[in-house]
């Protein structure tokens, strides 16, 4: 008995050690740095001040007085909006794709799933550069646009749309897979029952398919949204870096701006947003379970 109990303790030690060294200590360091004093040329000195957090809302203006500055809130808001838009478009596109894969003959399924995951085998940077060529001058997008008789166009590149397209492309496999798993479990008899009861396609989608695949959609939404709000590549390369996102802002604070504590503070804000989202999702899921 005691052997079993001690094994329960010691057997879990490796897991706890991994948690400690890869999660708790690094996050602790980030929290510590966010309260530190910034070094003159980057770096930091340990202390306990809230300058970094104050700077999120207030900073010295051009006239040398402390004023409320919404610029970081704007950057955070823009990042969240981009993340939400990416997630929403991924959802709309992934649902039919996942549905078709789920309905396809058994021997096709593994191949189709493999094709969805295939891009992950290629470096993210290479894939984003591919979009530079597609959207660039005289690229595929421009030729297609002219072919369908679109008017004179300057460039698709370096626009918010280009950024969004790149992000949807990068993250959509993360949505397709969980949605596919959910749809696969869907009992076709329920769809037949719906039709038997004079439910048309729209009603069937709304009342049967969506509620039953919702867990998959929710999981996909989190898998897409979380990396989307931390992204750096697409805003820089496809969006032309004209508008800062949280990822690029954090990067600049550790680089050119030489303000590590502020960079750490923004990183924590980003993390707080993610944690709140995950908690809301977990609560929703557990409430649902309680209902069942």
């Amino acid at each position: 008995m005691t052997v079993l109990r001690s094994f329960r303790f010691w057997g879990l030690v490796p897991a706890w050690a991994i948690m400690l060294f890869t999660l708790i200590i690094p996050v602790g360091i980030v929290i510590g740095v966010s309260f530190a004093e910034r070094g003159a040329y980057g770096g930091f000195e340990w202390s306990a001040n809230i300058d970094s957090y104050r700077e999120l809302l207030f900073s010295l203006g051009w006239t040398d007085e402390l004023e409320f500055t919404p610029k970081y809130l704007i950057i955070i808001g823009r990042t969240l909006a981009l993340g939400l838009a990416t997630t929403a478009i991924c959802m709309i596109l992934a649902l039919p794709v996942a549905y078709i894969i789920a309905q396809s003959p058994g021997r096709w399924k593994p191949l189709l799933i493999y094709l969805v995951t295939l891009p992950f085998w290629v470096s993210m940077i290479v894939r984003v550069y591919a979009w530079l060529i597609i959207l660039g001058n005289n690229g595929l997008a421009e030729k297609l646009w002219r072919f369908v008789g679109g008017g004179e166009i300057d460039t698709f590149l370096f626009t918010p749309g280009a950024m969004l397209a790149g992000m949807v492309y990068s993250y959509i496999p993360l949505m397709v897979l969980p949605v596919f798993a959910a749809i696969e479990k869907l009992d076709p008899a329920l769809l037949e029952a719906s039709h038997d009861l004079y439910g048309n396609r729209w009603v069937t989608l709304r009342k049967i398919i969506l509620p039953l695949t919702w867990p998959g959609l929710a999981a996909g939404a989190i898998l897409v949204f979380v990396p989307a709000i931390g992204t750096v590549l697409e805003p820089m390369l496809l969006g032309g870096g004209k508008l800062m996102m949280m990822g690029t802002l954090i990067q600049s604070q550790f680089g050119g701006a030489r303000n590590w504590p502020f960079g750490a503070a923004i990183a924590l804000v980003l993390m707080a947003i993610v944690v709140v989202l995950l908690m809301l999702n977990a609560r929703r899921a557990s409430r649902k379970e309680a209902l069942l």
Partner: protein
């Protein structure tokens, strides 16, 4: 017998790791800045293994050293970052005056403000930052920064800048006649206003992949460096490096050794190797930026006739190491610009 074999195996493994630890040189240099031919030659001559990683901004190099134990034996920052690294105690005193490379060095790079006693650094290349235009798309004059910062109609929406402020703000200061690293807010507000007025005409703020963007005509003007323009022009692009009368922003990259580097002696050996007349000429012909050490002019690929980029006809003002207050203003300009 078995035991001996095992012992032998253990010993040889131990010796191999030992040899690797002694013979590996890790270099962190500007992307594509060191001639691959010379890396191979150095490896053949010394038996050492050389790894080269690339960076695209001085800030990246500084951040990496500040984070501690970067694992690099040689880094090649620009002059103002050498100064910061020295002040921050991040560099090893390599006694540069005792190196053979020091003897090859042009006198005007000795005893400069970033390393007054020549303890820490040996320069490897220098040049300027300015802007480049694509001559297929833009035929007008390029004799002033006004073309870049207050673009004429043909250039509007076809301009690209860098993703960090370092040299861009310097160029704006040259144009406005404001000293580098000023702590005067009113003056920096003018820089901000200039960049803000330019922003609607800027297609992208990015430091990656510049040769494609300007060479292919994706944009018609790009903030860029002298030697990179030269190399891309020589590969067939119809581009021209501007000589703005207000001046160009100067830079000088140096070899330095981070504090705590594992192979200081090998690093010094490499610096000397790179600075011999023969190798410096190979490096010059590859990198296409001016050489601060003596080269064999008869074998040099670039002359004022075929490489006007490297021989500026306008004043060159070297970037300085800004005080924290001045740097904060530069950051404020940039964050407010891209907010």
């Amino acid at each position: 017998m078995k035991k001996t074999l095992l012992l032998g195996a253990v010993l040889s493994v131990a010796m191999i790791t030992q040899a690797q630890a002694e013979g590996t040189l890790n270099i962190y240099a500007w992307s594509d800045s060191i001639a691959p031919e010379l890396i191979e030659k150095f490896q053949a001559e010394t038996g050492a293994t050389v790894n080269v990683d690339g960076f695209n901004s001085n800030e990246d190099a500084l951040t990496k050293l500040q984070a501690g134990s970067s694992g690099y034996d040689i880094v090649t920052p620009s002059q103002h970052f050498v100064k910061i690294m020295v002040d921050e105690g991040l560099l090893e005193d390599i006694g540069a005056t005792d190196l053979a490379a020091y003897g090859q060095l042009d006198d005007r790079w000795k005893g400069q403000w970033w390393d007054p006693e020549n303890k820490y650094s040996i320069p490897l290349a220098y040049g300027t930052a300015g802007y480049t235009v694509n001559r297929d798309l833009y035929k007008g004059p390029v004799d002033s920064w006004s073309v870049y910062f207050e673009p004429p109609a043909e250039l509007q929406g076809k301009i690209a800048s860098l993703s960090y402020p370092d040299e861009v703000v310097g160029a704006a200061q040259l144009y406005l006649g404001i000293p580098f690293c000023t702590e005067d807010k009113a003056e920096m507000k003018k820089v901000y206003d200039l960049l803000m007025a330019q922003k609607p005409y800027v297609a992208a703020y990015t430091s990656d992949n510049i040769e494609n963007r300007i060479g292919s005509g994706e944009v018609a003007a790009h903030f860029w460096w002298d030697g990179n323009t030269l190399r891309t022009r020589n590969s067939g692009a119809n581009i021209e490096y501007a000589m703005p009368k207000e001046g160009l922003v100067g830079w000088l990259d140096s070899f330095v050794v981070p504090k705590g580097a594992e192979n200081v002696d090998l690093a010094k050996q490499f610096i000397d190797f790179m600075s011999t007349v023969e190798n410096a000429t190979i490096q010059y012909n590859y990198y296409a930026h001016s050489s601060p050490v003596e080269i064999d002019v008869s074998k040099a690929a670039y002359t004022p006739e075929n490489a006007p980029e490297l021989f500026p006809t306008v004043p060159v003002e070297f970037s300085k190491a800004c005080s924290p207050a001045a740097q904060d203003l530069v950051t404020k300009v940039w964050t407010d610009l891209l907010q």
